[in-house]
Symmetry: C2
Subunit: 340 residues, 2 copies
Amino acid sequence: MSSHEGRLRRATIHDVAAEAGMSRGTVSRVMNGEPYVSDEARAVVEAAIEKVGYVRNTAARNLKTQRSHAIGLIVLEPHSLFLEDPNIGAILLGTNAVLSAADYQLVSLVIDSDRDSSRVAEYLRGGFVDGVVIISARAGDPIARAVAKMGLPASVVGHPIDVDGMAFVGIDNVAAAKAITSRLMQTGRSRIGMIASALDRDSGQDRLAGFTQALGPAFDPSLVVDFPLYSYDAGVTGMRQLLERDPAIDGVFAASDAIAAGALYALREAGRRVPEDVGVVGFDDSSWALRCQPLLSTVRQPAEALGMMAARSVLSQLEGSVPSPLGSLLETSIVWRDSA
Amino acid sequence: MSSHEGRLRRATIHDVAAEAGMSRGTVSRVMNGEPYVSDEARAVVEAAIEKVGYVRNTAARNLKTQRSHAIGLIVLEPHSLFLEDPNIGAILLGTNAVLSAADYQLVSLVIDSDRDSSRVAEYLRGGFVDGVVIISARAGDPIARAVAKMGLPASVVGHPIDVDGMAFVGIDNVAAAKAITSRLMQTGRSRIGMIASALDRDSGQDRLAGFTQALGPAFDPSLVVDFPLYSYDAGVTGMRQLLERDPAIDGVFAASDAIAAGALYALREAGRRVPEDVGVVGFDDSSWALRCQPLLSTVRQPAEALGMMAARSVLSQLEGSVPSPLGSLLETSIVWRDSA
DNA sequence: TTGTAGGCGTTATCAA
DNA sequence: TTGATAACGCCTACAA
C-alpha cells in the first residue's frame, strides 16, 4: 500500500542563486543562454541548478514575457474527424515534428461541442499558446474568426478561410479530382458517376467541381449522389443508388477512400466485378486503400507535409513575418492500383 | 500610475475596477463566482467586464494559484497509435467529454521522440496542467515514472503501471480473451490457433493467457504465432504460418480486429471458407470489424467509457481523494457476427 | 460586504 | 560582467 506524499516545494531561481552564491539575474541569464556570463559563473550556476533540481516556473515566465512557447492544434468535429479522417493523425505528426525541432510544445485542443468551443476560445485568450494550427475548418468557422480577432498567429490546414489575412496550406482538390477522373476516363469508361460528400466544406465542393470539369460534356448530374460524411456507409448506400439510377454505370469516383471501400462492397453485393465491369477510384490514399479488395487506385495527399508547412507558417509569423503569399497548395499524386 | 497609450492593450482587472468604480478585489470575487458580493456590485462589475472586454490572464492566475485548470492527455508512440489504434479517438472523446463538463481544458501531448519526451516532462513541471491521463503506456514507461515522481495526479488508461500508487482503468483482457475463445469452441471447432501480438505489453500477454486458459488441455503451443504489432500484415503472415503448421486448423483467435482482417485475407487466399471451414474471432470491435467480409465476431472494448473513467479519476484526485481501489476494470462484451 | 496590499517566480532595466 | 529592483496580473488574507 502506498502512502500519499504531498508535493514537495519546487526550487526557484532564489534557491539556485543562494546555492551558487550569485544573483538571481545571473541565474536567469544562464537559464536563457544569454551572453555576458563568464564561463566560471555559468559553470557554478549550472551545478547549482543540477543540485537543487531547478525547473523554471513557466507560469511566472509567461506572465513576464507574455509568451508560452506552446502552439495549439485545434481539431474540430472530432466525432467525424478523429474516428474517420485518415489524414488527421499524419497532419498532427508533421506539425509536432516541426514544432518539436523548434522547441515548441504542441497542445491539441479538441472541439466537440459549443461548450468546448467557447472554452477553447478562452483558453487561447489566456495566453496558453503563442499561435495555432487549425485543422479542417469550415467556411464560416467561429473559432477561426475568434482567433483572427485576437490577432493570434495562425495557419489553417485545409482551405482558405473567409477570414481576412489568415494563412493556409492545403491541396488543390479541384485539380486532384480532375486528374484522377481523367485517368479513370482513359480506361475507356463511358458512364462515370460520383459519390460526393461533405458538400458543406470546400474540400467536398472542390472535388465535385474537379469531377465535373474532367467530364465536360459527358457530365450527367443524375450520376452524382452526395452524403454529409466521408464514410464507408455513404459509399455503400451511394453505390446502391447509383446502380439503381443507371445499371450500365461503369466508372465511379468516390470522394474518399472510405467511400470507395463502401462502394466496392455494394458493387460486389450487386454481382459486378471490379475493375472489369466497373472502375472505382478514391481519394486520400489512406489505410483503407490497401485494405480493399481489389487494392484502390486513389489520390495521395501529402498529409504530414501539410502539417509541417502549417507549423512553419505559424513559427515564422511568430518571428514577425507576414505570410506571403497567404497560402500554398501542395502537390498531390495519383496512386494507380487495381480498382480501375 | 495609469498611462494612456495609443496601442491596443489587453484589459486587466485594474481597468475593470476603474470602469466599475470598485476595487480589484471585488472584481476578482465576481470573476470567480465567490459569495459576499452584493447583487448590485456584481451587476455593475459584470457590465464593466463586458464593456472593456476583459478576459483573465491565465498565466497570472496560474502563478498565483498554482493551478491551470487544464489536464494533459499523454499519447505515446503516435506512429503506431494514432495511425493504427482504433480506440484512441474514442478514449480522447470520452476524456474530453468529462473534462469539458467540469470546465477543464484537455490538452493532448504527443510523444513521438525522446526529445518530445523530455520536453513534455518539462511542460508538465511547468504547471501547465493540473493532472494527466496517460494512454497505453508500457510497463517501464519513463513518462509515467516522471509523472509519479513529480506527484501530479494521474490515471493510466490501459493497464496498471509498475509505479507505486498510480491509478489506472482498463479492461480485463484475460477474461475477455477467455470468453471469446470459449464462444469459438462452442461452435464445434477442434483445432483452434491464435495469432498473438504485442507480447511486450500487458494487453498482448493477457489475451494470450486468456486464450490458453479457455483451451485448457486442448491448448497446443504450436498453434500460436506472434508478432510485435497489432497490424493487418501480422494477420496475413500469421495465418499463412498457421495454415502451414496445421492445414486442418478450423478456428483462429486474432489478438485484434486488424489482425483478424489480415487472417481473413490469407484464408481466402488459401481457398478456405469462413466461417464454414474456419471460424475467426477478433478483438476491439473497431471499424475493421465491419469492413471485413464476412463481418467479424469480436470483443467490444468500452473505449469511450475508459476515457471518461480516467478523467473522473484525475478530477477526484484533484479534489484530494486518494484513488481506492487503485484501478478498475471495465466490462467487455462479445459481439457475435458472421466470421464464426 | 468591500477595500487594501503583499506576494507568486520570472525577466529586464538599470547601476555598479 | 554582475547585482539590485521594478514590474507582469492576479488572488486572498486581513482590515475596514
